[in-house]
């Protein structure tokens, strides 16, 4: 059942939301630059987690290396900050050792799709239960602005000064093709919609991949002549995307250059841990 981004969330959180119940004491301010969307994404996630009723002890958040991968350090869960690209592999070990944990992977476009591409597709193939958040800001932020596997063609990075010629990956298409059973795209700009996508992803059994368009004003913005974080959010996240439900009604020319937003794909398929524990029962004695 593809489509339907307008998910009903059975709650109306009292505002303002008390983030401090999830943020580790003394860890703010975070290291992210002014205008970086990662904080918006994190806040959306925390609200969704709260709505889902998961306790902090039930959650494990694993990350690799990069700006987004600093997320676990701030949140009061079981947290693991690992090697560049390898978060999903570590998360696989944690999940199989403690299948009752809800495992989140905080990763970036470079971390998940370049150095960690192999682990990414194999997690999708196994359909192991974890929520993979790809903070996609089109650039390597931590290492100061090199091109990533999602940098659009023609854009500038510190390693593509003459305009990037590599075609980018479409995170969602790749996740779907590799076998992920929940594939969605959200943006930091549409933070409430993102919260709902997270909420749905948390309740999904299997590999959930969310491509989160998010901005890096410090490098991507500056190198590509976007004056402010807000301008980037409007150009890339607001005007660059169309809700999947609306897209069906739009003529092709209106969709050109736009990315679909919302839950793009959802399927039911046996989940890896459940299958393994069935196997244990089968051969146990």
């Amino acid at each position: 059942m593809a489509g339907e981004a307008a998910v009903k969330v059975p709650y109306r959180e009292k505002r303002p939301f008390d983030y401090s119940q999830y943020i580790r004491k003394g860890k703010l301010p975070h290291i992210w630059c002014a205008g970086c969307g990662h904080g918006i994404v994190l806040k959306s996630l925390l609200r969704a987690i709260h709505a889902s009723g998961l306790s902090k002890d039930e959650i494990c958040m694993v990350s690799g290396i990069g700006c987004s991968s600093r997320t676990p350090g701030y949140v009061d869960f079981n947290t693991l900050h690992t090697l560049h690209g390898r978060a999903i592999a570590y998360a696989t070990g944690v999940k199989l050792a403690k299948p009752n944990l809800k495992v989140f992977v905080a990763t970036g476009d470079g971390d998940a799709l370049a150095i960690g591409g192999n682990h990414f597709i194999h997690a999708c193939r196994r359909n192991i239960d974890m929520v993979i958040l790809v903070y996609n800001n089109y650039i390597y932020g931590m290492t100061s602005g090199q091109a990533s596997p999602t940098t659009p063609q023609g854009m500038v990075a510190t390693t593509s000064r003459y305009g990037h010629i590599d075609p980018p990956f479409d995170t969602c298409e790749m996740a779907k093709a590799a076998g992920a059973t929940f594939v969605a795209r959200g943006t930091a700009y549409h933070c409430q919609e993102l919260e709902k996508i997270f909420y749905e992803a948390i309740h999904h059994k299997g590999t959930a991949v969310i491509d989160i368009l998010d901005s890096c004003p410090t490098y991507y913005g500056r190198l590509n002549k976007m004056k402010s974080a807000s301008e980037m959010m409007l150009k890339v996240e607001k005007d660059g995307t169309v809700p999947v439900a609306q897209a069906a009604k739009l003529p092709p020319e209106k969709l050109e250059g736009k990315k679909l937003r919302g839950i793009l794909y959802r399927a039911e398929r046996p989940e890896y841990c459940e299958e393994y524990f069935k196997l244990i029962e089968r051969v146990h004695g």
Binding site: A34, G35, I40, S228, A229
Partner: protein, 80 residues
Amino acid sequence: MNEKETVKEVATKPPREKKKWNIVIYEELCKGCSICVDFCPTDVLTMKGDVVAVKALERCTGCQLCDLRCPDFAIQVFPE
């Protein structure tokens, strides 16, 4: 949902005395990105040097968008 819908939602609530809001800014957390200022639907906020400041609290509708889009946990809107 976008900010316009939120505004509408607030606006269509049964007529009653206009609710008042307090905006709390945690200056030590604000990095001055101005996202909250740029996206405030009723132009409540402004930049004062490197941090955000309230310029017209009376216009605040309590939509919370400044909080929701603040990457730095630096602004919150409380009902009075």
